[in-house]
């Protein structure tokens, strides 16, 4: 079912309703911004358990503002955020991480002076008194090939792609019920973008619920189940990834000659 109403305030998607039970993440009519500048103007979005949903749009469309408002980095002006049915609107990020929402921020933000292992351990910080941190640490390190030999190396010495993997690994250490990824392809070479997206696809196939925010529409839709297209702070189109990729309007405005190369 494809809905391409250009006008905003898109209602909840039927596709989500097909999956039974409470959605993992439900955002209703969220508005947020900086000062008087509106960043996002009434975005509604649903991510069901096990889904990989992509939120796509050009620079300045409001993707990062949305993610920051959902993950507690900024306070939303209005609207609501529900995590597995619990209202978590405007809660602090540390509470949200504890509640199961892990966030890989834009630009990776690994801690350069700390070692790879220390970065990963910080990811498990919210899991107070959980004895399995060491086991999870080994698991994450085993999964990310390049990090294995660099366990005691400072994170600042890693390449961009390795830092992205470390940032994702750090978020996994929180044992999240949903993973929010902010522009994982940013500043990476095309080969590394491919590797990072392969990793995201793997995580999704293992059943992890993921909300992916991406500028790279083709890559984003390439691994997502469903997509939301954002423009100037509002959802302009939503549907399954296949439908969106086949839609002439999407191809025209987002996958033009330049978009295809990206």
């Amino acid at each position: 079912m494809l809905k391409s109403g250009r006008h905003t305030l898109a209602p909840e998607q039927p596709a989500a309703a097909l999956v039974s039970g409470t959605p993992t993440l439900q955002v209703r009519d969220l508005r947020a911004g900086y000062g008087r500048i509106t960043g996002i103007d009434g975005i509604s979005l649903t991510v069901s358990a096990g889904e990989l949903v992509a939120l796509l749009g050009a620079n300045g469309a409001g993707k990062s503002t949305f993610l920051r408002a959902v993950s507690g980095m900024i306070k939303p002006w209005s609207g609501s955020v529900h995590l597995r049915g619990d209202d978590v609107t405007g809660q602090r990020s540390d509470r949200l991480v504890r509640a199961g929402m892990a966030h890989v921020p834009e630009g990776r933000r690994v801690l350069p002076t700390l070692t790879v292992e220390e970065n990963l351990r910080l990811g498990a910080f919210a899991r107070r008194g959980d004895g399995d941190v060491d086991a999870d640490l080994d698991g994450v390190i085993a999964r990310f090939e390049p990090l294995r030999e660099r366990r005691n190396q400072k994170a600042g010495t890693l390449s961009g792609g390795e830092q992205q993997m470390l940032a994702i690994g750090r978020a996994l250490m929180a044992r999240p019920t949903i993973l929010l990824l902010d522009e994982p392809s940013l500043g990476l070479s095309p080969r590394l973008v491919g590797e990072v997206f392969a990793l995201i696809r793997d995580l999704a196939s293992e059943g992890l619920t993921i909300l992916l925010v991406e500028q790279n529409v083709k890559q984003g839709l390439g691994c997502a189940d469903r997509g939301y297209l954002l423009s100037t702070g509002s959802v302009v189109m939503t549907g399954s990834a296949k439908e969106l990729l086949a839609d002439p309007a999407v191809v025209g405005s987002y996958l033009g000659a330049r978009g295809r190369d990206a």
């Binding site: 991480v97 504890r98 921020p105 690994v110 801690l111 002076t113 700390l114 910080l122 910080f125 929180a174």
Partner: protein, 291 residues
Amino acid sequence: MMDAYTEAVVIRLGIAILLALGYWITAATGKFSFGHAAFMSIGAYTASILTVKFDWSLETSMLVSGLTAAVAGAFIGWIALRLTILYLAIITFAFAEIVKILLDSWDYAGGASGLFGMRGTTPQLLAICIGVVIVYLFFLTRSRKGLSYEAIREDEQAARACGLGVTRISVEAFAVSAAITGVAGALSAHETLIITPAQFGAPQSLLIILFVVLGGVQYFWGAIVGAVVLTMLPIWFDFLEEYYQITYGLLFVALMILRPQGIVGSGTERRFTMRALARLSPKRGKADGDG
């Protein structure tokens, strides 16, 4: 036994070390206070009132003054640490001035002319305090909490994304820092034997900051080095007479250029190499490029 002069120097050195270690705890979270002398003042007055007016022992008074300073620190931290670093600087600075003004007009504690009647302190008591703080810091820096301090100092946003309760952790560090500074103030009052509110003004706050900045914030023993150097320099440079202050200033400028990370600590960017010097020359080209 030490002679009186050596003992005076040792006690001053010890107080400087205690102040530096106390300040290091908040600096370790990247939160720089510009009014730490206020906590010193609170500690000094609390302990002195207790020993002089109520005849309490110095040990008990010292602990109470640490507690009082911790409460004040938690309060100020809770107000200021949720704001940006600039507000923290302004609020802590203003707080120190307010404490000074209040003490100036508090006749019970001697007002502007000061409080006296304290008996002395001993190097042994000071050594015990420093020992306790060092043991605490030794375990702190190897713990999860120490790691969280470093994360907050390096990148607060990233620390938040990791799920760290940045405000709570910073306020706690600030309160512990204030407590140690309060104890140092208590001991210092029982060394100088007379305290006035003016003693704990901006210059004292600045001196505490310099201990840590000069020594380096990466490791706590950097703060010890900074405190020792800054306390001993005026004594070592005594022979320079009136030129000592300018020498002192020049040394500081040179150090900040060559070792911005402080005496102790590994530089993330610059080291003392010829390349570092070359980079300071005017024709730098794209020196700051792909680092």
